[in-house]
């Protein structure tokens, strides 16, 4: 099956992700896929969950922290500014404390905690994670393309969902039990029903946010996850390992795309020994990829003569990925 057929035969898969090691072409493929779908008349959002996002570079537009930016008709791109989101969020918490207790100033101890929490390393990932939920539940686009972070982070991101989920379940249970005790005391004293536990509601809200996000990541009907690799030994081994891990998290693997394939036709021409050796090595690894991943390899993408930035190059990449464009 080709990449094009995967899209055409599964029109319900509206969340598209490219994963793989750093620098193999995830952002390039995200942009090219977005371009191709937009050409077909779908409204597409390509967004980055990487704190070091590179969508701005590939589209040659500064889109960092600007919300969804229209790149061309139907194609929007977004880079999440995690720092700003964290700052706004902290301010929201402070304001809530001031309003709830009618204070003019957040107590020092509490303020210190708010500041310290923001410095935690997991904070940035969590903030992005949370914003992604806002983006995907908005339902404004036909397709959502996640420009994922390199493998290790992506796994962290996925496992975070299940850790969060278990944690929330535990404290929700504790909170519910606390509610019971309050009620018992209230009944004994024959006072009215206790006021509804706001914390419990807050916990349920958090749980629902996390479930939405991790639900999408593991939904076989709606999500397609593609692995990007190149014909090199280490990459093949790492990809195989990562694919096994992802499968454990129930990520619906939709196929593999081999990038940076030096065109084999070159060997017919007068080429230096260096290139000839590379071609030979590549042929071996392409054979290995065929053995290891079999029919799940959807397409081979050639190494271009220059890097892929700007829309004209993205259009060429889309042709390479999906076959020549046809007007629709």
């Amino acid at each position: 099956m080709s990449l094009r057929e995967v899209f055409e035969k599964n029109p319900d898969r509206r969340y598209v992700m490219f994963g793989g090691k750093g620098g193999l072409g995830k952002t390039t493929f995200s942009a090219a896929t977005g371009y191709w779908l937009a050409q077909q008349g779908y409204k597409v959002l390509v967004f980055s969950v990487d704190p070091q996002a590179s969508l701005s570079d590939i589209f040659k537009r500064d889109i960092f922290g600007k919300g969804p930016v229209e790149i061309m008709p139907n194609l929007y791109a977004q880079e999440i500014d995690a720092d700003r989101r964290i700052k706004e969020y902290q301010q929201e918490i402070r304001q809530k404390i001031l309003n709830m207790y009618g204070m003019d100033k957040v107590p020092e101890e509490i303020e210190n905690y708010i500041q310290a929490a923001a410095a935690e390393p997991a904070m940035e990932e969590s903030a992005i994670f949370d914003e992604v939920v806002d983006i995907v539940v908005s339902g404004k686009y036909d397709y959502y393309i996640y420009d994922l972070v390199p493998l290790g982070h992506a796994l962290y991101y996925l496992s975070m969902a299940s850790v969060y989920d278990q944690w929330i379940d535990k404290i929700t249970a504790l909170r519910t039990e606390m509610e019971e005790y309050s009620k018992v005391a209230a009944v004994m004293r024959r006072s009215k029903e206790t006021e509804e536990d706001q914390i419990l509601r807050e916990l349920q809200y958090i749980k629902q946010r996390i479930n939405t996000s991790s639900g999408i990541l593991t939904d076989k009907q709606k999500t397609a996850f593609f692995f990007v690799l190149v014909p090199e030994e280490m990459i093949i081994l790492d990809t195989k390992k990562a694919a096994e891990l992802f499968a454990k998290f129930d990520v619906p693997l939709a196929g593999y795309i081999v990038n940076r394939v030096i065109p084999a036709e070159l060997s017919q021409q007068e080429i230096p020994e260096y290139l000839r050796n590379r071609l030979q090595m590549q042929a071996g690894y392409l054979g290995r990829i065929g053995q290891v991943f079999g029919a799940e390899v959807l397409t081979h993408v050639p190494e271009f003569e220059r890097d892929i930035t700007g829309l004209p190059m993205i259009a060429r990449m889309a042709d390479a990925l999906f076959g020549p464009a046809e007007a629709k």
Binding site: I97, I114, A117, E120, A185, M188
Partner: protein
């Protein structure tokens, strides 16, 4: 005082006595248990405040406003070996 009100006052008095005899201890116990759980809850959500990182902090911040009043008593309790109410119980 009208007969109705007198009667109710007397009835309320009996209720209070009965509550004192039977219910009060149970109510106090329930509240005390709840108090301990409240502190346990703050520990697992705001553990960082004592230097025990337990939880991804992003969502724990969402809960912070609700526990602001308990924070100081909680810290004291966590850092104290024995609780005063232990002696009372």
């Amino acid at each position: 005082m009208p007969e109705e009100t007198k009667k109710r006052n007397w009835f309320d008095g009996v209720k209070s006595v009965l509550y004192g005899m039977a219910g009060h201890d149970m109510a106090r116990y329930a509240l005390k248990t709840r108090g301990s759980m409240e502190h346990l809850f703050i520990l697992i959500t705001m553990g960082d405040l004592l230097g025990i990182p337990i939880l991804p902090p992003y969502y724990s911040l969402r809960l912070l406003p609700y526990v602001v009043p308990q924070i100081s008593t909680w810290k004291r309790r966590m850092l104290r070996e024995k609780d005063l109410t232990d002696a009372l119980a």
